[in-house]
Amino acid sequence: MRYPLGEYEKDSIRSKTGKKLSQITLDEIKRGNVTADDIKISKEMLHKQGQVAKEADNPELAGNFERASEMVDIPDEVILDMYNRLRPNRSTKLELVTMAKELIDNYQAVNCAKLVMEAAEIYEKRGILL
């Protein structure tokens, strides 16, 4: 794998919907064959970018990309709602634990769930739960 992937791995890159980069062109847009979803990033690409970050000795950035790859399939409004519920004094401990379970059960988002569970613990200790 060689970075920038857009230059060295161009032919293997696919968008969230499986479109190749070479299929995302002006002509295709004019024909109405490209939707907004076609220009979204895929889980695989985020995973690969995570590898790039790891190789650059940045495991924190890699961790972020891992969580992001888990979020690819979570709908926009669900993500925003979860974010809001993670803010201080918005949720009970049970609500946060339930959210973590949702992340695992519905989206296999184990790293996101771990973050939420840790938040539930420390929020309880610091008194910022409902």
């Binding site: 920038p4 924190e60 979020m71 926009d76 420390i122």
Partner: protein
């Protein structure tokens, strides 16, 4: 007392209109080091940090805990903490020790240790360190693109001119919040009309900003604030955990992001917990690092009034920029909010980032006259363009900008305005008249432009959002109205989010949309003859200011 005329003349100087206060650590008015700052310490047990800067895990607040679990390399910390702070400071300045080696050491030290290290450095040493530690090999610059009327046509024209002048990122915001989608679209179009590959963002409330990004109206986000004390973090309605979650949400939609922090915010918000501004900002930067965000906008930013008022405040600002670089973060190093009445002082303040170069020297140079700057004015504005270009030329320094020709400015402003006119017409939005295009093309600021029908604009914005218009529709609109090249540029920008290369540390795009980041173009400075040197084409560009005396005219 009989008054001295000398003293009277001095009293009238702009510098004496600025506000200054003495150190008052109990209220957090202390730049670099407070007697109440914790002493550095770390303890690791079973692969977990159980003590951080004098606090045991049981005593951790949520910032301590997040830093302990996410921002410190457990495998490196004991070894790194065993090196004295003075020795680390010397290594950072030492040209024979590489950036990579420094990053490894620093990834194991705690915030209190980092604060101690920075305190050993004077400003010149900090600049030398920044020259070596800046993430990307080449520096760049970012502009603010706003106006008092929230006029999208002027946004587009100013964005085009800004891009032409060299800015690689452009940021807008709005006076009336509901204008945001219009201005984000106009900024996106305008930027590419000036010079290809410029990244753009619209700084608004979190949920809206994310939506604009998801829709493909912006390419990066910067306005995610983090704070150095728990109380202020909660007042800011977030925690390190919620912000880390939000950062991943952005990445999951293929958007480049950086966080925002800056010294003085905790003082302003009344809960500095007696700590120095540098220590609290260092905590912010560790949270940023731990959240896995690639970079930060910092350097006191909008709280500079506080930091600049205390002794060594301006030194603290380059100090906190340096902490960001030491943590391997991209640093957009502030220089944005205006803070001084004195031209000497505001220029001196900027030299600390300008001379060594940072990833983005300004995290908002006002590319419009300051009266149009909705971020409360910037330290440099459109009227300083020529001064800035001459400073680059005088010192052979790359400040990220370049001189331009009037005909080129007019041409790109006109193209940008016409393109917005065409897109608005194609998408059935509010009308942009030829008179408005003309006025904006030749304007300096919104005092020279026509007024828009705000009510009609806001109705059109609402309609645009309801219809689910996205970046793809903008590309189509441009392609169908004769702006093929511009359409292609916008599409190339949108395709970045499919690839994600530009989400790596300190990434910008060149004019062929190639990613230039700390991964493929890391800073490799190791003293004279190494690193980035201003030469070749770029030096020719910097030299070519317009008002040069022609020897034939002697």
């Amino acid at each position: 007392m009989k008054q001295s005329k000398r003293m009277e003349a001095l009293r009238r100087r702009p510098i004496n209109k600025d506000g200054y206060i003495n150190e008052w650590p109990e209220k957090g008015f202390v730049a670099m080091s407070s007697p109440y700052d914790p002493k550095p310490s770390v303890k690791v047990k079973d692969g977990m940090v159980v003590e951080l800067d004098g606090r045991s895990r049981e005593e951790f607040d949520f910032i301590d805990q997040f830093i302990a679990d996410y921002a410190i390399r457990v495998d490196r910390t004991e070894r790194a903490m065993a090196i004295s702070s003075l020795e680390i400071a010397r290594k950072i300045v030492d040209i024979n020790i590489s950036r990579k080696e420094i990053l490894e050491i620093v990834s194991g030290i705690t915030p209190a240790k980092m604060t101690e290290v920075i305190n050993y450095l004077n400003v010149v040493e900090m600049m030398m360190s920044m020259q070596k530690m800046r993430a990307r090999k080449t520096p760049a610059n970012q502009a603010h693109i706003t106006n008092l009327k929230d006029d999208p046509v002027q946004i587009a024209a100013d964005a085009a001119e800004g891009a032409l002048r060299g800015f690689r990122e452009e940021e807008t915001t709005v006076g009336i919040a509901r204008y945001a989608p219009f201005n984000a679209i106009a900024l996106f179009i305008g930027s590419q009309a000036g010079r290809k590959g410029v990244l753009t963002q619209c700084a608004v409330e979190e949920a809206t900003e994310l939506e604009l990004g998801i829709r493909g109206f912006t390419t990066y986000a910067e306005t995610m604030s983090v704070y150095g004390t728990e109380k202020v973090f909660v007042d800011g309605d977030d925690t390190p955990y919620s912000k880390a979650f939000l950062a991943s949400a952005y990445a999951s939609r293929g958007l480049k992001t950086r966080f925002t922090s800056g010294s003085g915010s905790e003082v302003l918000m009344g809960s500095a917990e007696q700590k120095s501004m540098l220590y609290l900002e260092t905590r912010c930067l560790y949270v940023t690092k731990g959240a896995g965000t690639q970079g930060i906008q910092n350097g006191s930013v909008s709280c500079i009034g506080v930091t600049a008022s205390v002794p060594s405040g301006i030194r603290e600002i380059i100090g906190e920029n340096l902490v960001a670089a030491l943590l391997g973060l991209e640093c957009a190093s502030s220089n944005d909010q205006s803070f001084s009445n004195s031209d000497i002082r505001r220029t001196a303040r900027t030299m600390l980032q300008f001379l060594p170069g940072t990833d983005f020297i300004f995290s908002g140079y006002a590319a419009e006259p300051n009266y149009d700057n909705l971020f409360a004015g910037s330290n440099f504005d459109a009227e300083d363009f020529d001064d800035y270009n001459v400073l680059q030329r005088d010192m052979q320094v790359d400040g990220g900008l370049r001189p331009v020709k009037e005909e080129d400015v007019i041409r790109v402003r006109y193209t940008a305005a016409k393109a917005v006119q065409a897109v608005f017409r194609y998408l059935g939005l509010t009308e942009v008249t030829d008179e408005q295009v003309e006025a904006v093309t030749y304007a300096h600021g919104s005092k020279d432009t026509l007024s828009r029908d705000v009510v009609a604009d806001l109705m059109a914005v609402e309609d645009l959002m309801k219809r689910g218009i996205t970046g793809v529709d903008v590309v189509k609109a441009l392609a169908e109205t004769g702006f093929e090249e511009l359409a292609d540029s916008i599409l190339s920008m949108l395709k970045q989010r499919v690839v994600g290369d530009y989400m790596q540390t300190s990434a910008i795009l060149d004019e062929e949309f190639h990613v230039v980041s700390a991964v493929n173009r890391p800073n490799d400075y190791m003293g004279p003859g190494t690193g980035y040197r201003v030469d070749g084409e770029r030096w020719e560009e910097i030299k070519a200011i317009p008002n040069i005396i022609d020897p034939d005219h002697f």
